[in-house]
Structure formats: C-alpha cells, structure tokens
Symmetry: D3
Subunit: 133 residues, 6 copies
C-alpha cells in the first residue's frame, strides 16, 4: 500500500458544550496543523499516488472554508461540538467529495483511502481515517 | 476510524542482557517521549474519542510508576529486558487496564484499540498496538 | 553563557485591527506553543540555570492567565493587537516579574536574560528577548 | 503488533517526466529523511522486534546505493520516475531482500511487515507498506 | 529585541568542488527547509515586526529563483560552491535587498537584522545572520 | 556571522544531589539529543564554516566518552551534578579542545564560537555558548 501526505494549517476560534470540556467551554481558539494522507494499492502511470500539486491546492481550498473563522458562527456546525475529531472528519469528508468530483485529477479515482490528522498542540492530535468509494 | 493521541515522557535508567545489545548492556538511560493513541469507530455524544483531560491524566499516572527510576530494580521487570518494545507494551497494557476500570470515564468503554509509541531518540522509536475488549 | 528552556502551550481566540491583517481581522484563534528560555553566565551551586520545576510551574501559571480565553475580552489587552509578538513580550514581562518576586526561587536572581518564543504554526513563530535586572 | 522504526537520510538529484510534475521536470534534488518501520506480532527472545544495530546498519547500506547520486543516471531507474513513492518502494523492497538474506540477523525472520516513509520536506512525505514472506 | 520567523523550502540539485566534500562532489541534491528571521528592537504601530503576509510572499519569491533548479547551471553561482552556508547568505542578502526596496512594506524599514537558516536534513543545518542598514 | 550545526545523541544514567531535584535524586536516565553549533564571521576557501564530516565525527567521538554510561561512576564528574547544563558545557569544552588540537581540520582555526544544546525531552533543553580562542 502506498500513501502520500501533505501538510497545511488553519487558525480558528470555537467553544465547546459539555462539562467534560472544562475551561474549553469558554470561547478560545486553536491552530490545527493538518495532514491529509491519500492511499492506494498501486501507483498511477506517472508513478505517483496523487498529483501532489492538486492535493496541496485542494487541501488548501477545503481548509480555506474554515480558516480565520469563529466556528461557533458557522451554520455547517450548528449544534455540533467542533472538536479536533469532528474537524478531522469534516476535512476528510470534504476532501473525499472533491476526489469524487475529479478536483484532484482523473488519476485520483484510483485512491482507496484517506486519513486526516489535526495537530492541536505539540502534545495532542486527532485523526479520522476513511475509505474512498 | 477515529483516534486521539496525547504525549508525555519519562526519564529512566536500565541495562540489557544479551550480546545483541552491545554497549547497552551497561547501565545507561533514556528519555522516552510517549504517545498514547486511542481508537474507536464512532465518536461519543460529546463528539470525542475519549475525555482528553482524563487520557492525559491517566497516561501521566501510568508513566509515574516508571518515571525517574532504575528499571533494573523494579520487581515488575525482574528477568525481563526493558527494551523500548517491552515498555511500549507495558504502558499500553496498563492503560488498557485503566480503561477497563473506568478511569478514563464511562465513554471510554467505546474504545476499540490503543497504540503506545515510545520515542527513544530523534532517530529511533518503537510501538505496540493492541485491541481493547 | 548558559540557558535552559521549557515548553508549554495555550489555546486562545482573538481578532486584529488593521488592514495589514487581512482575514485575521475576523475573530479566529491560535495554539501558541510557548518556549521560555532563561539565561545566566554561571550556574548556581546546584549546577543549574534555574529550578526547572519552578520554571515549568511559573510558566504554566503565567500562561494560565491567557489560556482558553478570547483575548479580545481581556482588559489587559484593550486597544492592543494581541499579535504573536505582543503576546511573546507579555509572557516574558510577566515571567520577569515573577523572577523578581522570587517565584522561581532565590537562585533565579542570578538570571540575566529571558527569551519567550511563541510558535503559531509549523511555518511561523515570533520571539521577544529581554534582560533581567 | 509491535514495530520498531529507525531514521536516516539521503541527498539525491533527479528529474521527472510528465506534465503533471510542472517545474519538477527540471533537474532538481531532494533530501529524503527515511524512516524504516519493522513489524512483528511477538518479540524475539531478547525482547526486541529486530536487532536495532543491524537494522540501522542495513538501512544505511541500502541508502548508500542511492546517496549523493543523480538518480537520472542510475540504470536501476531507467525509464522510471523516481518519485518519492517509487523510492519508498525501492528502499522497502531492498530492505526486504536483506531481511530474507539474513542480513538483519536470524531473529529478523520473525518480521511480518515493513513500511518505509520518505519525508521530502516539512510539508510532504510518502510511504510504502508491504508484508514480509 | 523582537523577531518573527517564517518557513518555506526549496528542492535543488548541485555538486561541490574540493576534496573536503567527499561523495558530495558528485551531482546530488537537497531539500532546504528555509527559516527567515526578521529582527527589530520595537514593534510598528500595528504591533508587528513585519507584515507576515509580505514576508512569506517575498521569501517565496526569493526562493523561487532557486527552486527546482540545478544550481551548477546558475550564472549567479559560477565558480562558487553552493554550500548550505553560501545559500543561507544568498537568501539573506536577497531578502535584505527586497527590504531596502520596500517589498516588505514601509514598516519593514524598522528592521535591524535578519537571519536565514537552511535545514539540509534532520541532523544538519546552517545559518547566516546579518544586520540591515 | 555564519554557523553550522550537527546533531547526534547519547543515552546515559545518572542521579542528582540536592533537594531541588526532587525525584531526580533517584538513579534515572536520559536521552540527550545534542546539537553542536560552530560559528565564524567568514567562510573558508571551500565556502564552509567547518568540514561537516569532521564536525560530525568529532562530536560523535566526544559523545562516545559519555554514551551508554552511568555518569555517577565517571571520575570526571565526581562531586558534580551532571545536569543538562553541566553536560552542555562539558561537550562544548571538549569539542573546543579538539578544535584547538586540529581534529576538525586546519580550517577550523577560523572558528570563533561554539554552542552546544542538549534536548532532554520534547519540553526541555539547555545550552552552553562559548567563544573559541
């Protein structure tokens, strides 16, 4: 199995609902350093997993919908805690939709899986792994 | 599949038995930077894999049993080489016992797997991955 | 010259005033991984620059005044852009006050300088360096 | 499942064929920081996944065949784009051959899998994972 | 003293002249992860050392003149070993010229110093530090 | 001013005397990731600060005198707390002696300064900076 990973980041504000979150129930923020990992069993004719230029560009586009925002104000997250885990799934699902739409190139239809990891600090990170249809 | 990882560290002394260890047969030491990764297929009602506060606290408790010690003197390791691999399994199994005992919260009963990675330097690390019952 | 550095982090929300900040004029947030570096020309009688336990504890205390907050609501920053540079100076000056107050131990009076570095992402960081009286 | 990883690096020149590579069609170069991860379900009698000294030495030997070279001139890669993905597979397959030949010690015959990751920058890396017979 | 650092990277081919370089006399390559640090004693009216957007953009522009190239073919380096040290100075001097030309904004005229660090691997890096007029 | 840094590591056991050290008064251990930074105002005729091959080799030789040892048993440290700070100075002074002895090549006589940084974990490190005669 092959994989390629590209890294970017976002800087967002948000707050959480639920006693389990302690002081993080207050409005605060985070830098998420985001790693998107694309997987496939075989390489395409160019010898790559995915066009890394398109992968980088599309990850930036997906992150651009979240970046420099207060996620508490985003309709897409109404009634949802925007935890690191939830955001990892959101980024992965939006990237998967772009793969399906052909935004990462026709070669990307050979991708079989995707993992998105969000690093919230030097001591904590979360990931969401999914298959691609 | 979702995962959350928290990081902490220990500083221990030990020595190894067996010619394969070369100079590491002498009493020496290591800083192990320890990553504990918790996995589950779905998030709990708060939108998390595990209460990250409890996960951090319980990892610190497990590591506290090893930290600032000469592992050659620990009864738990009598007759055992405390290699990075063995210590990764020890930390994972002790964390798993705490998950089972409810120390990471009732939500943690949804966890299905655990990986512990011990970084012994910038050029070497070991991991142990196990399921949770 | 000797130095010792300890690392911790904060997660805050804020917004900036001024066209130079572009989209960062919106309410957003950041994780700042914070390195506090203490300097002195000679070691104390214990062979250290500073009691690293106290240094870690006092850095955490200073950061605790900022952590999990919307800095736009903090009176201390009214009318001030809480840029990474400004926050680095704030943390350094508050640590310096604690050194002067004896909170890092009597040995810490031998310290001659302090640098605080705030990493806002994997591709950007800022620092403030000052002397200690 | 246990794993052990060792890290080394190479510095090579190469160029790519195919419009997808854009400016990387020109002769350029890369430092690849290479992580070789060895896996097995149980530890050997010494309590290790593999003799880490031999693993480090054999990784260096495999990388020595590529290091400080223009890969465009290497017969082994004639007609092949030496992408990060292709090089990850090359290093993995050559390490696997050395495991089979006994170069990592007789204990290494218990290894069941191998992953090689090549970091081409702070924002991109690729990996190839394979089983061992 | 304040500083702000931004990070980017280049991927180049080159070779060195001189027995001291051993196998690096052959055509090979490197990824250089490049940190540009800007210094000034006081912040500007926006509370920053430099417009970080412009700093990032100008660093990318300077690096774009080197990226994906064989430096042995660049007239600017004819007769010069493009060592990590030499490239650090080149990047620093070209950034300094852009500061002087106003490309980093009028506020950048308050800058007093600049350091450029090139990381050639996880175990080696070089830096060049200079003042700004 | 130019600098070049090379990285290596040691794994040692030791214990400390003095209530300030708390649990670190017990025999424990550490991995120290060691960065040796060499400085000079101008490059030599080859365009380098120092022969990086010799610098790497001599750092390894200096570290080899400490590696895989219990520092409490080393005569050189009798009556001395082998704190991270003290070890940073020890490594720096021993490297400086090798520079003076010509072990880093005749070109190394142009070096004017040296800094040694010891990373004891992902959250703490110490450094010692000195001039070279």
């Amino acid at each position: 199995m092959f994989s390629v990973t590209v890294r970017d980041h976002i800087m967002v504000a948000h707050s959480f609902s639920g006693a389990v979150f302690g002081p993080a129930q207050r409005l605060h923020g985070a830098t998420f350093v985001v790693d998107a990992t694309f997987r496939r069993p075989d390489l395409d004719d160019d010898g790559v997993v995915v066009d890394i230029g398109l992968a980088t560009e599309q990850l930036k586009a997906v992150l651009g919908e979240l970046n420099y925002r207060n996620l508490d104000d985003e309709p897409a997250f109404a009634g949802t805690n925007t935890t690191t885990e939830v955001l990892a799934r959101t980024v992965a699902d939006r990237l998967a939709a772009r793969v399906a739409a052909g935004d990462l190139g026709v070669g990307a239809h050979g991708l079989t899986g995707l993992t998105v990891t969000l690093h919230e600090s030097h001591v904590a990170w979360a990931a969401y792994e999914r298959s691609l249809p």
